[in-house]
Each structure stands twice: as C-alpha cells, then as structure tokens.
C-alpha cells in the first residue's frame, strides 16, 4: 500500500528532468514572462539594424554612382 502511494505521488507530481542544476520554479516562470518583452525588444533591434544596413548600403551605392568616371 505504501509503495502504491509513493508510485501515485511520483506519477502525479512528475516534473521536468533538468540537468544537475535546479533552475528554480520562480526563476523559470519569470524568464517566460520577461522573455516575451525581451523577444519583442530583440526583434525590434534586428529590424532596426536591417533598416540601418539598408540605408547605409543605399547611400554607399549612391556615393559610388556619383563618382566621376
């Protein structure tokens, strides 16, 4: 009976298998929460970088086009 109870408890409360480091549940949840904001921020940063690259490459091309032959 005791063994059955332990088995049920083990199955009910089964959790993720982490490496040898306990990430901490609060910390885990916190990352998911701020991850949304961080992800949006990072996407905007990438988008901004692309705009800058586009503008600078265009202006460089224009400069080289304007060069006298």
């Amino acid at each position: 009976m005791v063994q059955l109870t332990i088995l049920i408890i083990t199955l009910v409360f089964v959790s993720d298998v982490w490496g040898y480091l306990d990430p901490g549940t609060g910390s885990y949840f916190f990352q998911i929460l701020i991850g949304v904001l961080a992800g949006i921020g990072f996407s905007l940063k990438l988008f901004w970088k692309k705009i800058i690259t586009f503008i600078t490459s265009n202006s460089k091309r224009n400069c080289s086009d304007e060069k006298p032959e």
């Binding site: 409360f13 993720d16 990430p23 904001l37």
Partner: protein, 455 residues
C-alpha cells in the same frame, strides 16, 4: 586512464557528465558515456575549436577514447583562484566571458547548462572558461536553466560592489552558490533599481522567485521563443554593464604615491629583490601585500609566474586595470589577507581549497608586511614564521624595526605590548623554520631584507 595513481578531485562531484582527476600532478577530465554524443557534436561542429580560437574556453586534448568513456587533458591552469578573491573588474570580465560563450552557443543551437563563477579562471591576464562539459543542446521553448545561477554568481555581487560597498564580494565566501537574490535586494539602495536591467534581473526576479518557489502550476505553460532567448541575454548583458565601480580611495591605494618612501629606498629594494630572486632560482612567486604591484612586476619581468595578493580591494582593482592595459600576462592580482587567508569551503570543506592547500609556491615575497601582521594583528613572530614556511620554499622578507616611522605611527595610539618585536627575536623565531642565506639593508631606511630557505 586506468591507473592506480588516479586521484579524483574532491570538488568534482556535481556534474553527472564526468569528473576531474589528477595523475602525477597532471589534471585530466573523464567524460561519461551519457555525455559522449554531446561531446562529439561539439567536436564535429567546430564549436570547441571556435571557443578555443576566441580564447574563451581552456583548450583540451583527447588522450583516450572508447565507446564508454573519453579522457581529455585540459591545458594547465597556473593558479586556481576563486570569485571571492577577485576584484570588481575581474568578476565583471568573468561575467562577460560567460555571456559571450552563451551567445556563441545559442547561435549554434547549444547553451550553457550552468553559469557558475567557479567555471572561470584567469590565465594570461584574461578570464577563461574551464569546464568543457558545461554545454548542452538548446531545447527550443525552454528557458535558460542557469539564469538564476548567473544572477546569484555575477549580477548580485557586482551590483552590491557597485552600489553598496566594494568589499561585499566577500559574501561569496558565505554563499558558495552565489548571493541569494532576496539578500542582495535587501542590502542594495533604491537607486540601484533605477537601472531597468537591475530592477528586472534582481528585484523582480527575486520577488518572483519567492512568490512562485516550488510552484508546479507554471511549468505547463513553458514556452520561450528563440528571439526571446537572445533578447534575455542582451538584457542580462545590460545588467552587467549597469554595474560600475565608483571612483574611490582607500587607505593603501595611494601608499607608494603618497611620497612616504624615497626613490633611493625603492631603487635599492628593487636591486636587492632582483638579486635574491635570481639567487633563489624559482618559477613561481606569491607576493603578499603587493600594493601597487611594483615588486610583483619585477618578478614577472624576471620570468616568474606571479600571484600578487593584497587585502586592499582597490589596490587589486588598480593593479588588474594596470596589467590589462600594459599586457603583462604572468601576474595574477588577487584580494587576500595574510591575517585571514581564504579558507577551504564547500561540501566536506573540500570543494574550494584554502590558500595553503593551493601551495606551496617557489618563493614568498613579504615586503614591508611583517609589522602589519605582528603589530597590526597581534600575531606572534614564531607563528608568522611557521605559516610562511607552509606557503613557499623560499622567502624574501623585509624586516621593519620598531624605530621605523611606520611602526612608530602604528604604536602612537596604542600601548606597546610587543616586547618581542625586535630584529634579534625575529631572527631567532624565523631560524627555526628557515635558513638565512642573505641579508641586505634597504637603502638608509633601517629596514633589512632577508633571503631565507625553508628547512
């Protein structure tokens, strides 16, 4: 590597992927069968080579391989140091090294499975990650398991040193797995949390950790995008950058520049130390009470691998910055107090070695130090002698007599109970543990420098 002389290091027991052992003073790392697929992946994709080339990871060579185990031999680390012995800039550089590795790994669909500050050692003046098995595959959607550990080991002590007091890194001695975030938050001033990254990674992180500690309800909703992982890493980098050391002055940081010592005295001392070091013919030196590192640099120029200790945090900070700029690779500056040296710590007191356990070194340099230990800390001369004899084979010691202005100043506001503090008693005490080879007067200062060899 089945050898009778294999000694498993007592500090290597947490990671199930492998362990570190020593054979004839050479360090090896055995990799268990479970980690071999990841190890092979890191080898075949060139991630290890990339990390070696960028001088972020300690290089290793495979010395033995089978289906069940692989044995690697990492490059030798000249001196093992611990985060509670580092100055602010060393801890910050170690944090940046860890984050740089994590970023590179994420780009290659891998990640760090732990972010312990003890995985970093200083070699050739730069931080180097030493645990070749700290890597695992990045599972899309899963948060970084080592995030909490990184905040405890790096962000919390850096913020405390930056915003509260520079000596608070010593809390790392009491908390071997990093400073608890709630403790850091309770000590930090409110202005620290005006920095959004510190508010996020320390304050909010701490509150969430306490609120949801042990909760199972959130685990079903796990999902974090790849961009979120990179964004989070960027934000952690900002938190590290938000910690800066405020300009400060300490008792010892301007010791040599204050003009207390004449140039003639310092030049004479340099000549004597240089002659004595050449005579001792050793490879390693520990400079105790290094101050500006003047004599540690002299030893390094003579080709000795030098560890320079000072109990004054700012002296170590200034020396580390100076060495980073001048590029002297064979000096490691560390915070250390002879009157209270680093203890052995961790499980069974065997995870982190005490200073004595990391010795003995070839030569101990104790210049203008003995009066601080004997008079400043009331340590009897015979006890100082026996302790220094445990630290190294050779000793260069400068004896500062009682009529020296420095000693007079120390005794000016207290009763002179140091009847045994004399040149004669000093020689008598030290001759029990050492053989005196040479002695020379340091200019006209009245101080004498001795070269001694352990009996």
């Amino acid at each position: 590597m089945k050898n009778r002389n294999n000694i498993r290091l007592p500090s290597s027991f947490r990671d199930p992927s492998g362990y570190v052992f020593m054979t004839d003073s050479v360090i090896f790392r055995e990799i268990h069968e479970s980690y071999i697929p990841i190890f092979n992946h890191l080898q075949s994709t060139g991630i290890y080579s990339k990390l070696f080339d960028l001088k972020l990871l300690c290089p290793h060579e495979i010395v033995e391989a089978s289906d069940k185990t692989i044995t690697i031999q990492p490059e030798k680390i000249p001196f093992i140091s611990y985060p509670y012995e580092w100055c602010f800039s060393q801890l910050r550089d170690a944090a940046k090294c860890t984050l740089e590795i994590q970023k590179l790994l994420l780009c290659n669909e891998m990640c760090l499975k732990d972010a312990s500050a003890y995985n970093i050692q200083f070699v050739n003046g730069k931080p180097l990650f030493i645990d070749s098995l700290s890597f695992e595959r990045f599972i899309p959607g899963q948060p970084w398991a080592a995030y909490h550990q990184f905040c405890r080991h790096f962000i919390a002590p850096l913020a405390l040193m930056s915003y509260t007091h520079v000596n608070l890194h010593k809390l790392l001695i009491g908390f071997i797995d990093g400073i608890p975030l709630d403790l850091a938050v309770s000590i930090l001033p409110l202005r620290a949390f005006l920095r959004p990254s510190l508010f996020l990674h320390l304050y909010l992180h701490s509150k969430f950790s306490l609120r949801y500690w042990g909760s199972k309800t959130m685990q079903s909703s796990k999902n974090i995008s790849r961009n979120a992982s990179f964004g989070l890493l960027d934000s952690i980098c900002s938190a590290v950058d938000a910690c800066r050391l405020r300009p400060a002055k300490s008792l010892w940081s301007s010791y040599y520049s204050s003009g207390t010592h004449s140039d003639a005295y310092l030049l004479s001392k340099e000549k004597i130390v240089s002659d004595f070091v050449t005579y001792a013919d050793v490879d390693t030196v520990w400079d105790l009470g290094t101050n500006t590192g003047r004599f540690a640099k002299l030893c390094a120029e003579l080709g000795l691998n030098t560890v320079a200790f000072d109990s004054d945090f700012l002296c170590v900070e200034n020396l580390y910055k100076d060495l980073t700029l001048s590029g002297k690779p064979n000096i490691l500056p560390l915070v250390g107090d002879v009157a209270n040296p680093s203890p052995s710590l961790g499980f069974n007191n065997q995870e982190r070695d005490s200073l004595t356990q990391r010795g003995p070194t070839g030569l101990v340099l104790a210049l203008a130090l003995i009066h601080h230990i004997a008079i400043g800390n009331n340590v009897p001369l015979n006890m100082i002698s026996s302790y220094l004899a445990r630290l190294g084979k050779w000793l260069i010691l400068e004896f500062v007599p009682k009529d020296d202005p420095q000693v007079k100043e120390m005794l000016s506001i207290r009763k002179d109970i140091f009847t045994e503090y004399s040149r004669e008693c000093f020689i008598e005490s030290f001759q029990k543990d050492f053989m005196i080879h040479k002695e020379a007067d340091a200019g006209n200062s009245g101080r004498t420098i001795f070269l001694m060899e352990k009996r």
